[in-house]
């Protein structure tokens, strides 16, 4: 807002062409609140209209150009001044001149590459947004519209189980097994703990999911650990030969896909922490990394054609079933 100009001012409004049909996704803001934003996938076109409404009808609006940008950027909280833009597209909407009445401009960013998932974390934020700007001599008028991007993956070809024997010499030996090493966000962790030697007095056992956000490089690496889940799997004292089952549903927890070295700026990794607690509150634990990925949704009629293509490139369970029934037919 300019308090000193007696001239014209304007309001900008950015509206997507498919605002009625496009799905919205919930995303956490920096202060912890949850908001809904339009959901996009890699390769989808971003198109819409920029409405410029003159505040005082009749007065002219002089400007140095009107443009709209599509930006994907990484912002490190400890270094707010430097935004690292990994996607930066611009479309000019109007050459320098003057507007005598409110106007609407069309724009289209065709098949935009969106290589990373939107992420708001403890020390870093990755966001995508449209920014419409009316350039003026003294002060620009601009409006930003955030969107959310999800990255989809397929069922991995190789997904070995995690099986290990660990312990403290002569005190505690256990063998733990998790059915997979890569889980999608709505998956189930199925596993078991087998006790080979128990010479300590165990009171209970739990599985924790730990999220580790790593920012910075070289000597300035900073890890932020957050325990997302604590799930008790055993209450009481086990003896040798006891098998304790694990069944942990991931859909109930707020998690993101595993992000490794995003644009060389940050990583978000997840670990399963198996914790045994003895009668004197001593904790024995074993941490193991798991890879989380996002599964595409089942294709729905209401999705845009492009979103359907994006989903089909990465099979949801519906398509996997279709492909398998096909394979069954072929083999019989």
């Amino acid at each position: 807002m300019s308090f000193f100009s007696f001239g014209q001012s304007a309001e900008i409004d950015v509206v997507l062409n498919d605002a009625e049909t496009r799905k919205k996704a919930e995303h956490k803001t920096e202060d912890g609140k949850k908001d809904k934003y339009f959901l996009f996938y890699d390769g989808e076109t971003v198109s819409g209209k920029v409405n410029v409404t003159l505040k005082t009808p009749g007065k002219r609006l002089e400007h140095q150009g009107i443009k709209i940008e599509f930006i994907g950027q990484i912002e490190l909280y400890y270094d707010r001044g430097n935004h690292h833009e990994f996607v930066s597209l611009v479309k000019d909407l109007a050459r320098p001149g003057e507007m005598t009445q409110s106007q609407t401009f069309d724009f289209e960013f065709t098949h935009v590459e969106k290589p990373y998932e939107s992420y708001t974390g403890q020390n870093v934020k990755l966001r995508y947004f449209l920014r419409a700007t009316i350039s003026r001599r003294l002060n620009d008028i601009s409006k930003e519209m955030d969107i959310v991007v999800h990255t989809l993956s397929t069922y991995p070809e190789l997904n070995s189980s995690i099986k290990m024997e660990v312990g403290i010499e002569d005190c505690l030996h256990i063998e733990f097994e998790y059915n997979k090493s890569k889980y999608h966000l709505k998956d189930v962790i199925v596993g078991k703990i087998y006790f080979l030697l128990v010479r300590i007095k165990i009171k209970h056992m739990e599985i924790d999911i730990i999220k580790r956000e790593t920012t910075g490089t070289g000597p300035n690496v900073y890890h932020e650990n957050d325990t997302i889940a604590k799930y008790e799997i055993m209450d009481g004292a086990p003896v040798r030969g006891e098998s304790i089952p694990i069944r942990l549903f991931l859909a109930g927890y707020e998690m993101t896909p595993t992000m490794r070295d995003i644009n060389k700026k940050f990583s978000v990794r997840y670990y399963l922490n198996l914790v045994l607690i003895d009668e004197e509150e001593r904790r024995y634990f074993k941490q193991q990394e798991i890879t989380l990925w996002r599964k595409g949704d089942i294709v729905r009629k209401s999705m845009s054609h492009q979103a359907a293509i994006a989903s089909q490139r990465f099979e949801g369970s519906a398509n996997a079933e279709k492909a398998l029934s096909q394979a069954k037919e072929d083999s019989s």
Partner: protein
Amino acid sequence: MSEPAVADTRRLNSKPQDLSDAYGPPSNFLEIDVFDPQTVGVGRNRFTTYEVRTRTNLPIFKMKDSSVRRRYSDFEWLKNELERDSKIVVPPLPGKALKRQLPFRGDEGIFEESFIEERRVGLEQFINRIAGHPLAQNERCLHMFLQEETIDRNYIPGKVRQ
């Protein structure tokens, strides 16, 4: 491979447990009792000893059933040895009760029955907490404290397991 949605969430196969393991005595039996306080000596040279009885089936202890007599300063010695040599956080001992050792008290001071009982409970909690710690079980001082008749303060500190 059958439908992945079903196979992925099936319980993993586990070995059946041997019944002797399931119903036999557990391998983590360790109980230490601190009891039978006795005050020995006369006048200003009096002190209280407690019986410390260890019953266990842990192979690291040479004797499955041992009994020794210890006084408060022996417990202090053990705490200091462990704090110096092992990496564990040693739990606190019950208080030294210096005030109770001052003259002109209305009661028996440190030989007051209720005080001795309070101290006995604290010492029992202390030794049970310590003796169950896998790292403390590795220290020679703990084994000497629990299972040798007298504490040799000139012993050579060291580890038991290799």
